[in-house]
Symmetry: D2
Subunit: 354 residues, 4 copies
Amino acid sequence: MDKVRVGVIGIGYWGPHLLRNLVSLPTVQVVAVADRMDQRLQEVKNSYPQITVTKDYHDFFEMGVQAVAIATPPATHFPIAKDCLEHGVHVMVEKPLALNSADAELLVDIAEQRGLTLMVGHTYEYNPAVRKIKEIIDSGELGKIHYINSTRVNLGLFQNSLNVMWDLAPHDISILLYLLGEEPVTVTAEGNASVFEGLHDIAHIHMKFPNNTLAHIHVSWLSPIKTRQMVIVGSEKMLVYDDVALTDKIRIFDKGVEPLPGNELYDVRCNYRYGDTTTPHFDWVEPLRVECEHYIESIVNGTRPHSDGASGLRVVQVLESADRSLYGSEERLQRMLMADPMRLKSDGARARFP
Amino acid sequence: MDKVRVGVIGIGYWGPHLLRNLVSLPTVQVVAVADRMDQRLQEVKNSYPQITVTKDYHDFFEMGVQAVAIATPPATHFPIAKDCLEHGVHVMVEKPLALNSADAELLVDIAEQRGLTLMVGHTYEYNPAVRKIKEIIDSGELGKIHYINSTRVNLGLFQNSLNVMWDLAPHDISILLYLLGEEPVTVTAEGNASVFEGLHDIAHIHMKFPNNTLAHIHVSWLSPIKTRQMVIVGSEKMLVYDDVALTDKIRIFDKGVEPLPGNELYDVRCNYRYGDTTTPHFDWVEPLRVECEHYIESIVNGTRPHSDGASGLRVVQVLESADRSLYGSEERLQRMLMADPMRLKSDGARARFP
Amino acid sequence: MDKVRVGVIGIGYWGPHLLRNLVSLPTVQVVAVADRMDQRLQEVKNSYPQITVTKDYHDFFEMGVQAVAIATPPATHFPIAKDCLEHGVHVMVEKPLALNSADAELLVDIAEQRGLTLMVGHTYEYNPAVRKIKEIIDSGELGKIHYINSTRVNLGLFQNSLNVMWDLAPHDISILLYLLGEEPVTVTAEGNASVFEGLHDIAHIHMKFPNNTLAHIHVSWLSPIKTRQMVIVGSEKMLVYDDVALTDKIRIFDKGVEPLPGNELYDVRCNYRYGDTTTPHFDWVEPLRVECEHYIESIVNGTRPHSDGASGLRVVQVLESADRSLYGSEERLQRMLMADPMRLKSDGARARFP
Amino acid sequence: MDKVRVGVIGIGYWGPHLLRNLVSLPTVQVVAVADRMDQRLQEVKNSYPQITVTKDYHDFFEMGVQAVAIATPPATHFPIAKDCLEHGVHVMVEKPLALNSADAELLVDIAEQRGLTLMVGHTYEYNPAVRKIKEIIDSGELGKIHYINSTRVNLGLFQNSLNVMWDLAPHDISILLYLLGEEPVTVTAEGNASVFEGLHDIAHIHMKFPNNTLAHIHVSWLSPIKTRQMVIVGSEKMLVYDDVALTDKIRIFDKGVEPLPGNELYDVRCNYRYGDTTTPHFDWVEPLRVECEHYIESIVNGTRPHSDGASGLRVVQVLESADRSLYGSEERLQRMLMADPMRLKSDGARARFP
């Protein structure tokens, strides 16, 4: 089988990881890398002299590139992905798929019409820990899911045209939708713009799912301790997923609570059920490697990837709803304007980005 | 100086701790203990044969008891405290002071009129760690306070006429009001009644304070891991207070974020300031001992205690606001009815409680 | 049944805990407390006015005290225990039973002759966690025990006539003997006298047991972090006991290593077996309460307690062996002299201690 | 400046990390990689098509390779390093430098005579945390160093011709020699061969340094929890270095103990000094990158590297002393025979290794 000819666009923070994984796949030939910064291109050249580097990703189209991996700033995801799809190139793009659902839908449509793979980099859906948790939930071991609490905070990378929800919460939302297999009924949000006026750096998102399940997401760029934790409370057992932990990433608590019959007024207590706590073993693989392999397989086999465009669209829709709750109407407008320049002028994106 | 003659009402979970501390104070004579359960009274008798035990706290009034410590279920705080004050007895009552602000105000008024001490058991205001944090904030070391995030969760004691906010959040609210020295502008809440219909066991409270400070409180009776953590984000430094930690209860992170001038569109980053992390040393004393000593001093010196009735009232007001946000109008009513029996019949409380 | 009349000797650090537990037992009447410090006696008087306090424990003998609990400094254990036994009083004494095996044997003999209970306060043998571990080992779940590593360090209480092994290691040794059910074949030790010349404040004890089992104990008064951890490596599973942990005191790791057949010279690896990790649930009771109850039961029923005099003697014998390894002959002499005054003049102990 | 032409020998576990770092250095051209396994060579070829791969490192000598990095099994370090030096090639070799001090000395001599760089991969000497600790100790902040306790345990990679000390302790020993700047006066060891007869998988090494400083190293291949911790106790402060921690790798405890004047016999206590605990900030760089850069600089500038051959020799000497203590005379012999084949036939190494 011929190798798939791949190009990588954007090699700032995440791009090098994509590059390293793609380069190591026997089914892939990384043909070219595009970035607007000379130094980054030079570093690529050092380690991988066989790869062509360029400041303009449009060069890809004359090099027989069949598929791209896009890891540029979020505001450029839509115009670049659209451009590539329209040139008949398969696209894997980092989250969020776009900055509004209209753009996201457009990408889904174009990919559909052209028969191209459109995949969003919801890495956690390819994470062995998250897949193990999905398996546990689906087995019924936890019982009915009452509540999921997800925390993703750090002293983090501020983004100037995006609030913290758009930056961090796509991970949590994509995990929640994946684990619960359903969409929220209502989405509300609270937050604070602490450092820059108008730019929320701390947020809490509440998602009510059918059947009385509540999910809460806390994201922040202003926390002294890096935390990536998900607590899942079921009617039978409880589970904690600590993505930062070196070991014990998943712990299952055989704990529960039941009301005692005939509660008395002055001594109301429930029955606590306490059992063993278990750390299930699972084999680890780098999620990004799984994701990259899955992308290539989807292209080669013409199959739909798990985190396809529709999945990326659902995440964007939740974020839009959260935005509507977070901002008052006038503030909302301000934010729009701030983020606008890029989105409104998406056709002209090429002028400003490779 | 004569010892203050004290009686303890309710020795279920918290009462024995009160009793142990009061008994050890050289300025106190614990005269009597009341509880409706024989076995508890027997246990008191075993360890402290010198103390009179009774099932009816009204016996106290003929025993020259000058002051009581009340650790009965929340719904009985108001009627018993009122009763005691009306008998000319000083009152220290566990939180919350009452189940609505009207009742709380009434208690404040009676105590005022009669010149009696009314104190609420906001234990954390007497906790050396919290006092150290107050000192640090007041010194300006953290800069402007952007955000406080307080988590108090566990697999916890369900209460049948009170949601989880009334049970756990009085601690967080009293600490927040104490640390910030101001009252919130808005209070909203989200939550879930997972196990019992109508009884919220999980809640998130958002409090906006003047000057763009946000506080968030997460309380839950349904968490596998006991957590009592407060993260305080200032413009200069950040602080984490972990009440469950054996050491390092307070950690100060010399971390911050500043925007770099001339942010570029495709590579927007802020400057992260990373410095040392410090665990300040402070001397430990059991908070409840400090609280008990403070109660007795307030009585003896006729001074107003820190956590006085007014302080208890403010906490109840915040909880009422949170309730209004948490419940829709009809649900609210339901809850009222559920909690009602006790409050409506507060005059008749004696018939059902010692 | 009449209550057993008990006296407590020494209420410095550990004594108050003994007192609190004994006082709460329905089968016990604590008649009197002896200590040489007025302030401590006053504190007892405050909380327990019904108890007689005295500076001289000999007063006990005229008060019908049937049993004592001794929590005085180690050098006084032998003379006081001997004195009490000779007055026909049952004895529970804190560890170590004595400072040399000759003294310990003498106590065992006297108790035997007089038909009195002699019990040593090896609290951990009454600790639900240790008992759970014993149960796990005996079930064969861990396989053959290869190795036990016990760490008990802190910034700790220096004792002037005893090195750190005598202070801390009795706990570890008594646990090891209890868990393995056999005695060591060889005992060696290494250590350092860092702060005071001649007084070892850091030590490592190596105990070789039959059947190729090694145990290592690390004790120190000079460690910044309090650690009380025991790692037990079996041929089938491994177990970690963390006595400082609030939860997860015991964790069982289903991990092992097996050699692969046909190891190659340049790539020798074993097969690692990785399975789940489990925290078994067990009910908690304060070990000291179990110990106190067991003491009283042994007296009442005339049965031999688990941690009897013979058990205390075995621990002293291991410590003596460790001492012989730790010291050279001349240093050993010095230490002897330093510790001597108390032991040589044990008959005259009364003159210097209540 | 021309790039240094480098070859890498052995790309099993550690080699790929060396390769990745060397490849990224602008001063280096990685010309070739040798390993005896086809699959590994294929993986190198995938990611780095520009690099020549070979099963025989002797090919390097015809390719103008100026310097090698050797990451083969320990028993081959000596023959391969010797071979390369004799071909006039600079050598960086993983620890331990050789399996006995005679071989290590020979390598030092050859490098000296030929004017070649001989460097040992004591990575920790290039670790920013270790360098920060060295700086702290040298500043006198900790006072006199009483004691260092180093733990390096895991469920680890068994090696068939080497006990656990030779595998893991070179790290600890090289750190200790670096931090203390002096050599031990005595070295003793205890251990156990739990899984394979004659192959020690658990060991404790005690090193006494001049001026009453004790160091203890615990290494094990049989521990359920990965630990890499060093506790340094000084007369003024204490320091904990946790290499596994994601944050707080270094913590400084302002704690100490001083004897109180006039200790009394029955209540002997020292004064504990408790102050703040500090986590000093330092910038992180991958140690292996620093090490690789340092290797190239040493070659280019003709300067002696920090972890030079003499340093590697000192570590081997300590291990030899530890071996002598660990084994009895007959056991020692057995071990010798087991490890012998490789060392005795070092001249014939080429026949069996590339």
